[in-house]
Symmetry: C2
Subunit: 747 residues, 2 copies
């Protein structure tokens, strides 16, 4: 039993956020601060022939105007992939802050720093740009054709990287020899993160140093990208969250769109702090999205229903710049092939440049797309075999220790228990068998999946922390990982207090500031609690050793005969509080400090979602009426926070399945750039989510914990699609299931 792990301790950021006192990048104001405005391309593809900024510069209150002509000519990748792409792969650097070619509607043309946002905006309107329009392409299948316009010059037509592919066993032969075969395809949309705080940065260039307050979810990689762009040593670039971030979901793994470099360039030009805050329209049109695309799967099974062969293929729409394009296809293929025990698997996935905004990291990172097509194939196979979708999954899902395609061991799984409990809770057996008649029809569906607990070894992925005791025995934890809303500033403190034996109330955390912390790759890949937790454990072990050695010498006993728990040190018939001990040590010039440095292993988190839907066959409206999410997160360090993650993921999954899609006109102009027009799932669309936590206590994680941040996004849409199929007998091949699509499908 633990003192703090497994307990619903209140969120440490709760008070600040509820009272409005918590500070976000949007709140940062510095003396003399200017405001940035950005001029964006109205064209999907064009060459800039000339830019005349004289009228803008002449406007009263304008302090600097940046264009491709006076800005750093440095190619970069705005995502963590910049220095996180794992050798032998190399990151694709295909973007300038400002270029003389624009490649999507919204691409940056120029930026202005002025004394007010209004003047900055007015000045943008005074910049005269002469464009030569170029032919544009928006669909990746079109862009692969020989006569398509080149978004970038590449070896293989519009391909930033060669196709991602691998095979285990012999897929073709096994598929052909299977007793039953199914083949499915699906089209998935552009989903947008729609995080509450838009991308933003306040840059402050002083002397030869740069400080940037930002919404990034990875301050250290962002520091690296900025150092390269600005031509500065990394040591002289400080990036920090102030300390809160209003959601992220992957959109700012690395830069917050271009908020940081735009603010930094203008600050260096104007010699004053510059605030660059995207408005909602800019945030929608000019930051990364989930990759849309086309997916295909083939699944073969024997007569008993045991899977023999599985192939997935995909063409993802990269948009205009690579971002995380190298990694996302790999994760999409590898994760979705690592759910079931299949002796022969193959995959082939491409990511293709087009003239739309870039696809990048978003909760699930390729896995929602891959899992959607695999689960569609599994349901199709169940139908073909006339098996219960639950039973075919229970028969085929991986057991712990089973070989799989992933480059780390399958250390634990409670997936079968997740399936049983989710199905049981939703009333699976009874509801599947119920008759589906009338105008409004109910159905239930099930989908399962697996996700990672960090990005290793897909990406460079490691952590370091400082842990030190103050002179009153209170504990200071410093980590470069942010709290982007997931509650990690609380859970990491729980891990630290438990691991050292501190009192929780005396633990403090400093996070997400490159000046206060050693390198951390940041918050992505459901890694924060798992990977940073492991690092804290290492540091706490060392710190505890220092304390116990010190006490052992004083008490003339052995360190292993002394214990430290909840701030009390006991052994050899003596005791002293950590508070008194540290005070004594301070007076003897002794400070206890430990550095943790770890490259985490990885561990799978498993999940089974069961959805019940109501389909109105007259209006085409699909309503989710019940949703059960059963998750194997290893150990729930703070169950309430785990539930919060699951509920958020399901909500985003419901939106993905039913409502969310960025739509463009034929010129590539996005239509729904606002919360009015982009149909997020709201409270009215989301039923109470029933969360079931199943703890497998994975041996690799801190106190047995695994990742949970993204999992719930992964199988939500396929569970809903399956439920719709159960209700109306149609398996839809394109999401979101808008009323129009549903009515079309029902015809």
């Amino acid at each position: 039993m633990y003192n703090y792990v497994g307990k619903n301790l209140p969120r440490q950021d709760g008070y600040d956020k509820v009272t409005g006192a918590g500070r976000f990048t949007h709140d940062v104001r510095l003396p003399g601060m200017l405001h940035a405005g950005v001029l964006r391309s109205p064209h999907a593809h064009a060459k800039i022939l000339s830019i005349d900024v004289s009228a803008a510069l002449a406007l009263d209150g304008v302090k600097a105007v940046a264009t491709w002509e006076n800005s750093p000519r440095v190619l970069f990748n705005g995502s963590d992939a910049h220095t996180g792409t794992m050798p032998p792969n190399k990151p694709v650097l295909d973007q300038y802050v400002f270029d003389n070619v624009v490649r999507y509607v919204g691409d940056e043309v120029a930026a202005v720093a002025a004394v007010s946002p209004g003047i900055a905006k007015e000045a943008c309107g005074l910049i005269k740009v002469e464009y030569e329009k170029l032919p544009a392409v928006f669909d990746p299948l079109e862009a692969m054709k020989d006569d398509a316009p080149d978004v970038h010059k590449t070896e293989l037509k519009n391909s930033p990287i060669p196709p991602f592919q691998f095979e285990i066993g012999n897929f073709k032969e096994a598929y052909e020899n299977s007793d039953y075969q199914v083949e499915v395809s699906m089209k998935v949309p552009v989903q947008k993160h729609a995080q509450l705080e838009t991308n933003a940065a306040v840059a402050d260039y002083q002397g030869d140093s740069l400080t940037v307050y930002s919404t990034t979810q990875s301050v250290h990689p962002t520091k690296q990208i900025l150092a390269l762009i600005m031509g500065m040593p990394e040591s002289k670039v400080r990036v920090l969250n102030p300390p809160y971030v209003g959601g992220a979901f992957g959109v700012r793994c690395g830069l917050s769109a271009k908020a940081e470099p735009i603010a930094a360039i203008l600050s260096r030009m104007a010699n004053r702090p510059v605030r660059c805050v995207y408005d909602r329209e800019e945030d929608f049109m000019a930051s990364d999205t989930r990759h849309s695309g086309y997916l295909y799967a083939k699944l073969g099974a024997n007569k008993e229903g045991a899977f023999q062969a599985l192939e997935i293929r995909g063409v993802l729409n990269k948009g205009a710049y690579t971002s995380f394009g190298v990694e996302v296809v790999g994760v999409m293929c590898a994760m979705s092939l690592a759910i079931y025990r299949v002796p022969n698997v193959a995959c082939h996935a491409r990511t293709i440049y087009t003239n739309v905004q870039a696809g990048g990291a978003m909760r699930g990172f390729g896995n929602p797309q891959g899992t959607a097509i695999v689960e569609m194939a599994v349901d199709a196979m169940a139908k073909k075999l006339n098996m219960d979708p639950k039973e075919i999954r229970l028969m085929n899902v991986l057991n712990a220790g089973d070989p799989w395609c992933l480059p780390f061991p399958n250390t634990s799984t409670a997936l079968k228990e997740c399936i049983e409990r989710a199905a049981d809770r939703i009333g699976w057996d009874k509801k599947r068998k119920a008759a589906k008649t009338g105008a409004i029809r109910r159905g239930v569906g099930l989908a399962v999946g697996n996700h990672v607990s960090n990005a290793w070894p897909f990406c460079v992925d490691f952590d370091s922390v400082y842990l030190r005791l103050e002179a009153d025995g209170s504990l200071q934890l410093a980590t470069g990982v942010p709290d982007i809303g997931q509650g990690s500033s609380t859970t990491l403190m729980q891990v630290a207090a438990e691991a050292l034996g501190s009192e929780f109330e005396t633990v403090a955390i400093t996070f997400s500031d490159t000046a206060t912390t050693p390198f951390d790759v940041g918050s992505h890949a459901s890694r924060t609690l798992y990977a940073v937790g492991i690092c804290i454990l290492e540091a706490a072990k060392e710190l505890k050793r220092q304390v116990l050695d010190y006490v052992a010498a004083e008490w003339e006993t052995k360190a292993d005969e002394i214990t430290l728990e909840k701030g009390m040190i006991k052994g050899a018939g003596k005791e002293i509080s950590l508070r008194e001990l540290c005070h004594e040590a301070h007076l003897s010039s002794k400070e206890f400090i430990a550095v943790g440095r770890t490259t985490p292993p990885n561990a799978p988190s498993w999940h089974a979602h069961a959805a019940e839907v109501e389909v109105d066959t007259e209006t085409g409206i699909v309503r989710v009426v019940r949703f059960v999410a059963a998750h194997d997160c290893g150990t729930a360090v703070n169950p309430q926070i785990v539930e919060g993650q699951i509920e958020g993921g399901v909500a985003m999954g419901i939106g993905y399945a039913l409502r969310e899609e960025v739509v463009r006109d034929k010129n590539g102009v996005p239509y729904n750039n606002s919360f009015h027009k982009y149909m997020l799932a709201t409270a009215g669309d989301i039923p109470e989510i029933e969360t079931i936590i199943v703890e497998s206590h994975d041996g690799s994680g801190p106190f047995g914990a695994k990742g949970v941040g993204e999992s719930a996004m992964v199988p939500s849409a396929p569970a809903i699609l399956a439920a719709v199929e159960d209700a109306v007998g149609v398996r839809f091949e394109e999401i979101p299931l808008t009323p129009e699509r549903v009515l079309d499908g029902l015809k």
Copy 2:
């Protein structure tokens, strides 16, 4: 030869300060920030019978009013002595933020937080306080008498601590047996730091954490004091400089007067950030001063002039609160007895409570007082023996390795060379012999001294630093020590670059922020370059080991066959830049981080000052016409910065000798609380200071360096007094030498 040590690299803070871009506490503005006003006692000693704050609270814009009735009832000591007093001594905690007794004119009665400074001030005027006036005492000799009022209840009348005393040999016997005896006495004034930026803090209490931007010169000790006052774990209190401090000179070793706790208490009450900035009058009347007092010395010598016995006695005016009172009497006695080779020494010093503002730390820390009386005795002895004051000093000063009274070894001295060169430069032999006639008379004087390179073992005094390499090979140094204007942010970077073998241009420093740095005792006792430098050396050694071990493994050679200099790694016929190496290491999940943790040794810095003055016997005006300062600082890491320290110290010493003195009326009301009335030495009073740097390359310090921050304050006044005596034949026994005193003396 070094790459960076010994070079006049430009100050890293220069650009920020010259352009006005550098941020000080006075510049900090936080969203929703309130402004504090402080109501101060008009009485030197009184009991508060009642306080009515209702009218103040009712004023529009007032958000909180703090008095002794609603504030933490926690005794503290506002100086670093709070947790820095060395066992077995204990810090004297004798102060509340607000008390129901006021003990000097200016003592804090109440504080208001309001939306503007004007409203805060107006509200202070609306607070109704009923006082019971108590008898007051201002002079320490008076306060020692049995019938004097008690400033605090103490065992020994108005004594926070027992008298400080020690004896080596047998002073009384040796003095009585000496061939020649002299006995001298002197009265020294209250000198004020008059630092450019007044004491200030901006406190931001959020959730259960407190962040305080402050002018402190020791963020970690200040964090400790605040944690105690506020009843919070130290880990949840962050104190930082933002990052600059507009001078300090000891006035904010620990709290910046009460700016931090007043701002913190009001911030917690109002739930908003609060800015508390002392105006100049408050800064003069309600922050620590140099200790005034009465000094006495007896010196015995044999016929040849060799010193046999030396005793110093002193009574210092403690003022109303102890601050650094425990330590200052010890340093005064110990340092001034550690200049000359004297077999029998004794001392006895007391520090006595009175109803004036507290004496505390100020450049020299007791040593200027002690050295003044010792040098007066030495001059008197030279006169008695008819010896040249230079010769008697050359004969008697300590050699390296000589036994002395200090608790650390006398590792190095170039004092004799300093004396010779200073005397030579000023034209000593010729000028001493010149006839002194006419209304305006010239004279030359000489004084010598010794100072520390940190406070160990007088105080708890230690350092820790983080040193880490970024993925581009640039170096990040994090130290809790501030740059209070002395240039340490540059010199510490020189030490780090030299020690590791980095390129200077790629080194960055983060300083004086308890969130970014491990414990450092702060900037005092001329310790910054010496003590933190030693700590950087230790960390750099460890960091270099990590790097070379890593390369050695890659190159299959031994680490000791590889060198790292100016960013290049070479050995075994190969080479790689630190930049490339760190990039490779990053891609292999390897970060190089080292922690330095050191308790510094100590080393004496020696100095000889020669002054030439002009005394107008008709007006009494004394003018310093030449000033030569020869300093043994071990190694000058940045000679220009060393010269800056010396020039600043001499300027302060000239003020101490001739102009500066806080004067009070009979009710204890200070008269000269402004730059108009407090007579700082200005450019018109200070001749060009001729600095001579003599390097003894002390083995204990970083690259041979020793302290230099305070030295030049120590012997400046005695050199001037000696020069005045040479000019007019009178040795004055009270400073400053105002025209009135000079004319009185000449009568």
